[in-house]
Amino acid sequence: MLKDMLKDKSFLVSLTIFVTAVLMVLLSLTLGSIGYGKDLAFYTLSTVILVSAFGVVTARNLVYSGFLLVLTFVMIGGLYALLNADFLAAAQVLINGGAVTIMMIFAIMLTNSKSDTANIPYSFEYKFVAFVLSGLGLFFVLFLRMTGINFVLAKPFIFTTPTAWSIKEPISVVTTGKLGEMFLGQYIVPFEIASIILLMALIGSIVLAMQDIHIKTSESTYGEEPIDMYESSKAQTFPINNTKES
């Protein structure tokens, strides 16, 4: 197991980056008194985020990319904490870093992805075209827009006046209580809709994933013997599965 892990290059890179990240965070804590702590924390966190996100996308073994996704989400939680969003940082680590990625790793292991043909990557040409289109092209467009460079044909590549947001300085606010007040006041309707969406997703995923198990309702209540859920699930299946097998 350890030998395989050491053979995977993306795992080695991410391990190195993680160890350096821990060292840099400790360093930034000590440097925080002279004013460079925030910068150092930002650069460390974003480096780890980008490298481990690249590992998620490119790692040959899918289990490693699942664990790298945990690292990415935890570090994004650190970025939220830098942006004065304390509640969001905790929620990010708990929900995305904990629950969602655990579900992903469950799915990787349950679908037996290690011996699947889906792990064979595409050809180099396909990946190159995808990289140029999504990676470079999309980033170039986003970068041009966010730096305020105008690429209208009449006046190409002229720096416009700085946008309104570049002059504001962030202030530190304690967000948790204020978020609760906003959720139960101004945003009460979207809040309820979000809870209904969560309930629908819960029930829907259970119904989708448990199609085989059919619980006897009408006739089994008359019998004296206890209900055997497993036997009844083997005896009765949905018609869609019968047509598939025949």
Binding site: L50, L83, L142, M146, L179, I197, A209
Partner: protein, 103 residues
């Protein structure tokens, strides 16, 4: 050197582009879902950064981020249930092999 909004926007844009690249080049359906989560995280960083730098007192961007988190969790749950069913029927999660309704 102080941190500006652009630093966060560039990191978020890079993360979003990596998510897009992963969605395009992944054969495994679970990895496609993971790349989608990466792209959503990039969008969330944008929202929080804008909320912090433009309207620090209003917190609207953080509210939106919580909604994004809710929807992405729901999407991951339903998507994984669908992937389980696909695996049960096709015995693979290869996106190229799932071509029952290919035109």
């Amino acid at each position: 050197m102080t941190l500006t909004l652009y630093h966060y926007l560039i990191v978020a844009a890079l993360l979003f582009c990596m998510g897009m690249y992963g969605i395009i080049t992944s054969k495994n359906a679970v990895r496609v879902l993971m790349s989608m989560e990466l792209a959503l995280a990039g969008v969330s960083i944008n929202f929080v950064a804008f909320s912090n730098y433009i309207t620090p007192a209003a917190l609207t961007g953080q509210i939106f981020t919580i909604f994004i988190m809710t929807v992405s969790a729901a999407e991951a749950g339903v998507g994984l249930a669908i992937i389980f069913n696909v695996y049960k029927n096709f015995k693979t999660v290869d996106m190229d092999k799932i071509d029952l309704m290919k035109w």
